[in-house]
Symmetry: D2
Subunit: 434 residues, 4 copies
Amino acid sequence: MIPRYSRPDMVAIWSPETKFRIWYEIEAHACDAMADLGVIPRENAEAVWKAKDVEFDVARIDEIEAVTKHDVIAFLTHLAEHVGSEEARFVHQGMTSSDVLDTCLNVQLVRAADILLTGVDKLLAALKKRAYENKDTVRVGRSHGIHAEPTTMGLTFARFYAEMDRNKNRLEKARWEIATGAISGAVGTFANIDPAVEEHVCEKLGLRPEPISTQVIPRDRHAMFFATLGVIASSIENIAIEIRHMQRTEVLEGAEFFSMGQKGSSAMPHKKNPVLTENLTGLARLVRMAVIPAMENVALWHERDISHSSVERGIGPDATITLDFALHRLAGVVEKMLIFPENMLANMNKFPGLVMSQRVLLALTQAGVSREDAYAMVQRNALKVWEDRVDFREMLLADDDVVKALGKDAINEKFDMGYHTKHVDTIFRRVFGD
Amino acid sequence: MIPRYSRPDMVAIWSPETKFRIWYEIEAHACDAMADLGVIPRENAEAVWKAKDVEFDVARIDEIEAVTKHDVIAFLTHLAEHVGSEEARFVHQGMTSSDVLDTCLNVQLVRAADILLTGVDKLLAALKKRAYENKDTVRVGRSHGIHAEPTTMGLTFARFYAEMDRNKNRLEKARWEIATGAISGAVGTFANIDPAVEEHVCEKLGLRPEPISTQVIPRDRHAMFFATLGVIASSIENIAIEIRHMQRTEVLEGAEFFSMGQKGSSAMPHKKNPVLTENLTGLARLVRMAVIPAMENVALWHERDISHSSVERGIGPDATITLDFALHRLAGVVEKMLIFPENMLANMNKFPGLVMSQRVLLALTQAGVSREDAYAMVQRNALKVWEDRVDFREMLLADDDVVKALGKDAINEKFDMGYHTKHVDTIFRRVFGD
Amino acid sequence: MIPRYSRPDMVAIWSPETKFRIWYEIEAHACDAMADLGVIPRENAEAVWKAKDVEFDVARIDEIEAVTKHDVIAFLTHLAEHVGSEEARFVHQGMTSSDVLDTCLNVQLVRAADILLTGVDKLLAALKKRAYENKDTVRVGRSHGIHAEPTTMGLTFARFYAEMDRNKNRLEKARWEIATGAISGAVGTFANIDPAVEEHVCEKLGLRPEPISTQVIPRDRHAMFFATLGVIASSIENIAIEIRHMQRTEVLEGAEFFSMGQKGSSAMPHKKNPVLTENLTGLARLVRMAVIPAMENVALWHERDISHSSVERGIGPDATITLDFALHRLAGVVEKMLIFPENMLANMNKFPGLVMSQRVLLALTQAGVSREDAYAMVQRNALKVWEDRVDFREMLLADDDVVKALGKDAINEKFDMGYHTKHVDTIFRRVFGD
Amino acid sequence: MIPRYSRPDMVAIWSPETKFRIWYEIEAHACDAMADLGVIPRENAEAVWKAKDVEFDVARIDEIEAVTKHDVIAFLTHLAEHVGSEEARFVHQGMTSSDVLDTCLNVQLVRAADILLTGVDKLLAALKKRAYENKDTVRVGRSHGIHAEPTTMGLTFARFYAEMDRNKNRLEKARWEIATGAISGAVGTFANIDPAVEEHVCEKLGLRPEPISTQVIPRDRHAMFFATLGVIASSIENIAIEIRHMQRTEVLEGAEFFSMGQKGSSAMPHKKNPVLTENLTGLARLVRMAVIPAMENVALWHERDISHSSVERGIGPDATITLDFALHRLAGVVEKMLIFPENMLANMNKFPGLVMSQRVLLALTQAGVSREDAYAMVQRNALKVWEDRVDFREMLLADDDVVKALGKDAINEKFDMGYHTKHVDTIFRRVFGD
C-alpha cells in the first residue's frame, strides 16, 4: 500500500482493527449457532457478546502472538481477557483457524467490492455528464494516430462510459463470486462442527456458505476477483491514455484541470503536465500485477498449503486500495477536465478536408467508378493535401475525372459535417438508454 | 500453436479457410441488409451468394495480398473473381476492414468458447463419476502436506467438480461478453453505413451489436475473455497437482492410467510417471500467459491502433487450442485414473491414530479441560507417535490425565471413522443437487 | 509461432530436422568419448558416424514414436535403421533422455541468441547511422508529452542506440548463461556414465559442462534467458512508441517509409499508418509473456518434473522467432524512416519561444531574483504565449521586471539554439566512443 | 510492504529520511561541482554543507508539499530553512527534479542490491555447510515424483548452492547495471548544467554517469534489475518446494526446525507444518509480480512521462524488501533444518532394490542383450516389485534369462551403493572448487 495512492475508507477495511472485529463477529455468531444446536451452553454464547463494543487492543494481540506464534490463538487469548476465560472456553470449538481467516478475507473483499462499486458509479456519472456536454462537439477520429473521419468528443466519453459500465457488471459478478464463507473444520468435512454453524455465520455476515471447502475456501474465486480488478485497471489505463494524448502540446484538445497554485515542474512554469493520468497509467500496472499471483494461488497442495496467504497479504490490500484510489482520481480528472473544441477543429483541418476522403471514395464507387480507379483518384488528390496542405475540396473540384464522375454539387455535399454526426443520438440511446 | 497439444476441432476455428468463410458471411449478410435499405441493388446482394458453396483459395488470396499488402482487400479481390467484379462492386461498401476482422474474431471466440464448454462438460462428467465412485473411500486430508484429519477421495473429486462448474459459469459469461459484432465504419460513427446493417449481420451470426465501437470492438471484452481462460487453466493446474501428488512413489494413492506399451522413461522400466498431469501443469502456464497481453491490449490509441492485432494472432489460437487440449487431456486422465484405496489407509496409518488428535483435543476441552492443558496432553502423546510410530490410541489409554478426563470408552469412541464422514452426503447434495 | 512474424533462419533452428541433427551429434560425440574411455568398442562409435550426412526422416520417427510413445527412443530406433542395430547398440548407453533433450535445447538457444545478436547488430547499425545523420537536427524535447526544451533528433537515436547496446551486452550474458550441456544420467550423479563424456560432448558443441545437474539442466538459466528477451522486447516497444508518436498527424516529425503501392487502409487512401511500429508494440507483448512462465518453470519437483517441457515447446520457438522478427522489422523501419526536420521546427514554435522558459528562469535566478519571483515572472509571460500564441521573447522584452533584471541583450541571448546543442558532441562521444 | 515480511535494514533504505538524505547529498555535491566550475560562488556551495548533520523534518516537508504540490520544491524550501534562503539560492540550479529523483532511486537500488547480496551470501554459506554435512547421505533421486536412482542429500544442497551462486553473479550484474546517475537537465542535453557536475556527483555517490539520459535514466536498466530479482525469487521457490516435499508426512526426509513453543495449528498439536517454506513460495510470487510492470515502464513517451513513478513507488520497496526477507528466512530454514537420513533409506527401499533397475538394464545391454530384450527382462521383474514389494535383487537372481546374461555375482554387484556416489566428490569440486 502506497499511502499517497490510498483513500481512508478502503485502507480501513484492511486495518487490524477491522480484521479483529470481523473475527470476533464470526466467533460470536458461531457460538450462537452452536448454542442453538445445543452443542455449547447458551450462556457461554451470550457471554461472548459482552465484547460487542470492545475495541480490541492490537498491540496486546501482537504481544501474545509473539509468544504463541499464531495469530488466531493470540486473538482468542485476548478475547478471553475480555469475556473471561471460563466463559470463553467454547469459542472457536470445532473450528480451524482458516474458518475464521478465510471467511474474514471474503468479508473484506466484499466490502472492498462495495467501495469499488461506489467509485465506478462516481466515474460513470462523470463520464455521462461529459458525454452529454460534448455530444456534438466535433473532433477528428484517429486510427493509428492518423486522422480518419470526424466523430464527436461525446462519443469518446460515451464509449468510456459503456466500457466502465461493463466493468461495473463484471465487478458485481466478482463480488458475488467472492461472497462465500466456510466454517467446515480442518479439512472441510464438518467432522467437529455442524454445517448449520456455517449457514448461520454466513447469513449474519451477508455471505453464502461455500458449497464445498477444504481447510480453505477455493482460490479460483479469488483469482477471478483479482482478474476482474485487472480488467478494470486496464480500462482506466485506456481512458488515461486518451486524455494524455489530448493534452500533448501538438494536440491540446483537452487537459487535466490546472490549478494555478500547482507548480507543474520545478523548472518549467509553462508546462501543464497530464501527471494525474500518467500516474493512472502506472497505477493500472500496479493493479494488474496482482492477477498472475492470484492465479498461481489456485493450485494449493491437497486440502491447503499456506503459500497463498503471503500473496494475499500483499495483493488484497494493495490491489483494492490502488484501484479504489485510481477510480476516484480518474473520476475527478474527468469531472473537471478542460475541453478545447476550437483546437479540435484546428487539428481536424491541419490537412484541410482530408478527413472526408473516405466519403469521397465511397461516392466515386457508388457513381460507378471501379474500386481501383476511385482509390487512385482520391489518393492523388489526398497526397497533394498531405504534402502541400492545400484544400482537398478544391483539389477535387479541379480534378476533371472526379468532377466528371460526381459533379461539383455532389463534391461539395461530401464536406457536410452532419453526415458524420447523424447517428450520434442513436449511439447515445444504445449506451445510455432513453 | 503446438501441434501435439491441439485438437482438430479447435484448430479448424483458426484456419484461414474458416476465417475467409466468416468474412464472406459478414460481407454477404451486409449486402443483404444494404439491399433491404435500398442502398445497393438487390441483384448485387444476391450475386454475392453465388459464392455460397465456394471454398476460398487461400493460396490465391495470399498471392493477392503479397501485392496489395492488405488482407481484406486481397479477400475482396478474390471474392470478385468468383462473383464477378461488376456484381461484386458494392461488397464492403461503407465498411472498414475492422468491421470484418473484429466481427470475425468474435465469431471465432464464441465458437471457441462453445468447444471449450464441451470440454468442460466432459471433464465435469468425469469428475462427477469419480466422485460418486469414491464418495466413501476414506483418505487422509492434508494441510501443508501434513496429515490432518480423514476425508474421502470422493470429496476431492467433488470439490474439483464444484470448481470446474464455477469455471463453466465463468466461461458462459465470457462467451456472452465476447458475442458482439460491429459494422460501424472507420471511426464507429456509422457515417457511411446504416446501423441496420450491423444489426442484420450480428443477428445472422448469433452476435449482439456492439453498443458503441470505434474502428474496433473495445478490447476490455477480450481481456475479460482471456482472463477467464487463465482462471480455468489455473483450476486445471490445481487438479493436475493433486494427481501428481497422489502418484508420487511415497504416496501412491492414485495414478494416471498406465498402458503397458508405453515406455515411461528411456532407461527406467519400473517408473510410471504422471507425465500427463505434469504436462497439464505446464499447459496451464501457457494459457495463463495470454492474460497480461490481453489486458495490455485494452488501451489502444484514440479510435484504434493495431498493436492488439499481432497479440491476438498469437494468443487467440494459442490460448484456446491449448486450453481445449488441456480440458480433454484432463478429462481423459480423470476418467481412467487408477485409485488405490488400500494405500490410502496405509498412508493414513503411517503414524497410527494420529489423525484423530484434533478430535481428542476437542473432547478434552468439552470435558472441561482448559485449552492449554488439553493441548499439552494431546501434544505429549502425539509426539511419541510421531517419533516412535506407536499407536496414538494406546498412548492415550495409558495417559492417566487423559483417561481421567475422558474415560476409556470415550477415548476409544474418538477413533471411529464414521465421525469424519457423516456429512459427506450433505456436501454431495450441496455440490451435485439431489 | 505466427508465420507472418517469422524469419526462416530462426524458424529453422526449431525444426524437427535441426533437433534430430543435434540429437545425433550429441549421441555420436558421446560414443566417441565412451570409446576413448574404453567403455564401448571404437568400431561402434565410428559406425555411428556413418549417418553423418543422413537427413533424418521426420515422418518415420513420428511413426515410431506413435508406437513407443517416447521421442528419444523413436529417434534411436530410427538411427539404428541407418547405422545397423548391431552397430548402434551402444548408442545412448548410460544416458537418460534429458541428457539429449536438454543439451539440444541449449544448443538451440545458443544458436537463437547468435541470430538475435545479428539482429541487434543490424538495429544498432541503423540507429547509429540515423543518429549521426540527425545529430544536429533540432527538435523539441518533451516530458509528459509537453514541450520542454530543445534537443536533437540525433540524441533520440543515440539513446536508443545506447539502450540497444546494453541489450546486446545482456544478450551476450544470457547466451553465456545458457551455453551449458549435461550428460549426467538419470539423476545427475554420473552413475552410469563418466563425466568425461559430458566434457567431450560439450566441447564439441560449444558448450560448458553444467557443473551440477539433476536429470535436467537447472531452469534458472532459462528463466534468465527469457527474462532478457523480455527486456529487449520492452526496448523495442520503447523505440516503436517514439516512432508512432512522431508519425501522428499533429506531430509528423517522422514516419515509417511509405511505399506508394501499399494501401494503408481499405478505405482511406491518404492515411500513412505506422502499422509496423504498432505491430512491434504488440510483438513486444508477445515476447514479454514468456517471462513469467519461464520463471514458473524453475521450481521443478526433486530431480525434475516435466512441467517445463510444454512451456518450452511454446516459448522456446515463439519468443525467439518473434523477437528475431521484431529486431529485423525495427531495423528496417529505422533504416528507412522518413524524417521531417521542418515539421520539428514548426512544432517547436507552436507556442513561439516558450521552450526557452527554463533558461530564462535560470537567468533570472542567477541575476539575483528569488526563485519564487523568477518563477512568477516567467509564468505570467508563458501563460500569455500559451493562451494567445504570442511570441515569448516579445513578451519578456515588454515586461519591465524582466527587462530590469536581465536587460534586453541578455533576454535576446537566451533564445540562441546553440545553447541547447552545445553538449551534443560530448554525449555522442559517450555513446559511440570516438 | 508487508511489515511481517520485512527486515529493518532494507526498510530503512526506503524511508523518507533516507531519501531526503540522498537528495541532500546530490544537491550539496552538485553545488561543489558548480563552485569548482565557477558557476556559483564557493561560499554558497559551502553553506549547503551546514545542513550536513541535520535530520530533515519529514512532517515539515510534507506540510510544504501540501502547498507546493511538488516534492522536490518542498524539500528545497525546507533545506533553505536550514541553510538560509540567501545562501541556498543556487541549490538545484540548472537541474530538473528527475536529476535528483532518479539518481536517488539508483542509489537506493544499489544499496538494496548490497543488502540482498549479503542475504545471498548468508544463504550460500548455509547451503554449503549443509551440503558438506550431507555430502554422502544417500537419498533416492526422483524424477516426476517417482523414485529413479540414488543420489545424496549433499548433492541437493550443492545444486541449490550452484543455482544461488549464479544468482549472486546475476545480482552483481544487476547492481552494476543500475549504478548510474544523471544530472543532465530537463531533456538530458546539459543545456543548463555542465556534464562535469554529473560526473562529480556520481563519483561521490559511487555511481557512473549515465552516458545518455533524457529527463530520466532509461528504464531498461530498472527492468533488468527487477527481472533479476524475479529469477532469484524463482530459485527461492525452487528450494522451498524441495523442503516442502521433504517434510510431507509420507516422505519426512527433512523438516523445518520445530520449536516446541510454537503451535503449528490452532487445533492439531502433532502437525509440524512447513509454513516457512510455504510462505517463501508465496513471497516468490510477490517478488516476481514486479517483473512485468518494470518492463512495461520501459516505453516512456518522448523524453519521459511519469507513469513509471507510481509503479516504482510500489515495486521498489516491495520487491527488494520481500526478497531480502525471503533470503534471510530461507537461510535460517536451511541452517537449522532437520535431516532424517534413516527415513531416506526407508523411502528408498519402499520398493526394495528397484532404484537399481537402470543399472541392471545397462549391464544387460553391455553383456550383449538387445535393448528391447534387456528392457523386457528388467520390466517384468520390476513390475513384480512394484506390485508385491518383493526384493528386486531376489527376483533377478531367480530370473534365468538375467542370470544367464549376467551371472549371479554381477547381479549382486549391481546393488552396490558406491556405484552411484562415486562422482559426488567430482561434482562437489565443480561446485565449490577445491
